[in-house]
Subunit: 348 residues, 2 copies
């Protein structure tokens, strides 16, 4: 059995479904254009915790709990949990999901982590290694600013190219045909969509060093993965109702569209960016858009899967984008390489 | 096709081989008991770089290059690279392996990362998602001290329970039957061993908070994964010639043996720890032993696989152990949870 396609792509031979999912966000995201669609909006961004890091852990914990509940799946029935976040040593994950006692396979792809976790989760279901798996990612505005930039108290100025890290987490329960039947027997909704293809991305480094313009840093990686995907699948932009990047924002979006035009692909009419959708840039002072692992994850759960369920869209390409930097690499004068992984999600 | 076993374990239906591997280490490791077995020992621990982080990136880069060369595999023939390290946002990986332009799936499991990357790599080969994959991990004494503890210049005292982070990286090329035939046609050696089972671990937190006694922090996780493995595979300690943990050191080893005895398993005669093997504790002043992602990885490549090749051992259980802490979580008074993933490696 070969489920590989080209060099970097996968076509599952057995269907892989997103059985259900859940999104938990902070106050700013709750006030944004997608606010009413999230499963849970915090009363404040501390989520009852003493530190920002604990708050982010709580986001993951609640997202996993809600996703399991919505899918009607017990935690004991989940084989693997693919999880990661932006913090050093992924501590939001380590302290967020340990209560579930599900075997953990930690992943790191910066803000592309949602795509990576879904790719690996779908692989483990399609390969017959697991009946049901969970994929969860998170980010938190305050823990990310502390991790990557300045203390919030410093009140640094943000250029217009900067993005605003989304406070949010989303969890996805994946499973095969058998898992769908069990879910139906439990009288639960879903599945929400089917994953029909994945393409893993390479690191792409154009030498940019501006951590306040991560859209431009990540756009070349998005273009690389997108081109590889079109080549491997023999597809064109109009094969998809939407081509959805994670958190390029307004600057990165323009770069991506231009880069793809140079490669011979016109994605202008079909491109959407979760970072642009999640906030109202004018009224919410978020500048180029939203970012963070949570940005694409909560938008997929709350908005994109809903469009697929309602069959407004039949097939989308979901392409979370990550900027591979750390405080240390930035301070040592290194560039900010990008990476992007994509999955194809289809309505049922 | 079901390749899952119990809740957390996997038995590949198609054989997965370690086609070849390579290890690169620093000066202290070169002077240790395994010194002559490593493929490359640096002249100094900077590896020609300006920073410790760049030095660690160079370790990964060299290990991947050597592993590909030894396996007779071109980088273009590798579908996925599973890679990770201990630094925040895995920057040793991001800046270490990008020149190879292989689709990257970043993993994080603290010092269990070698086990996790081999588990996922074997999964992707057994599932028919890839012909050949690479798994690489690294650690560096100086970058790890800076990341987790104190500046080296501070010269802090190390208690006897502390371990010494290994400066080293190892890379493993995995593939299926077809890849073995191609390697033989190229006149290269290998395969070195076969991977016949894997068990993914859960986070186990006994509430310990001492980052200078990580062996004790990780031992409960090692015991948990080991017990789960024995249950899932219906096996006993004497099914394996060696049961090899990653970096428990002398303190953690005693805790593990005691915990396993409580669970009804006597592993005393078969247990080996890479952290204990890699240094001569007496003459090298390394206290409880070696640690870090690189510790288990270079010991597997240089020593364990050699024992399997020479058929001194026929079947081993390789169980890298990780301590899930960060500077931030430690400073915020959090505990140090552990995690461990295991693979079964057999001689051919």
């Amino acid at each position: 059995m070969s489920q590989s396609l080209g060099k970097a792509s996968i076509v599952p031979e057995k269907p892989v479904y997103i059985l259900n999912s859940a999104s938990v966000v902070g106050t700013k995201e709750g006030q944004g254009p997608l606010g009413l669609l999230f499963d849970m909006v915090g009363e404040d961004d501390m989520f009852g915790c003493a530190t920002w890091e604990e708050a982010e852990s709580t986001l993951q914990n609640k997202a996993v709990g809600l996703a399991l509940e919505k899918a009607g799946v017990e935690k004991e029935d989940v084989s693997f949990l693919f999880a990661g976040d932006l913090l050093g040593q992924s501590i939001a994950t380590s302290f967020g999901i340990s209560t579930y006692q599900i075997p953990l396979l930690g992943v790191y792809g910066a803000c592309s982590t949602c795509g990576e976790s879904l790719l690996l989760g779908a692989m483990s279901v399609a390969g017959g290694f697991a009946d049901r798996v969970l994929c969860v990612t998170s980010s938190h505005f305050a823990s990310a600013e502390k991790e990557f930039r300045f203390p919030l108290e410093y009140g640094n100025q943000r250029p217009l190219s900067a993005t605003w890290t989304v406070t949010g987490s989303a969890a996805f329960v994946l499973g095969g045909e058998e898992a769908v039947q069990k879910t139906k027997k439990n009288g639960r909704g879903g599945p929400r969509a089917r994953i029909t293809g994945m393409t893993a991305g390479k690191i792409v480094d154009y030498g940019l060093k501006d951590s306040m313009n991560m859209g431009a840093c990540m756009a070349p990686a998005a273009a690389s993965t997108l081109e590889q995907h079109f080549i491997d699948f023999g597809s064109q932009p109009d094969f998809y109702d939407k081509i959805i990047t994670g958190d390029l924002g307004k600057v990165g979006q323009r770069v991506l569209i231009d880069l793809m035009k140079e490669k011979g692909y016109d994605i202008l009419g079909r491109h959407m960016d979760c970072g642009i959708e999640i906030y109202d840039g004018e009224s919410q002072d978020t500048h180029a858009g939203g970012s963070g692992c949570g940005c694409s994850a909560v938008t997929l759960s709350a908005y994109i899967l809903r469009q697929l369920e309602e069959r407004n869209w039949k097939k989308v390409l979901f392409l979370p984008t990550g900027a591979l930097l750390s405080k240390t690499s930035f301070n040592e004068g290194k560039s900010v390489p990008g990476i992007a992984h994509c999955i194809v999600a289809e309505s049922l």
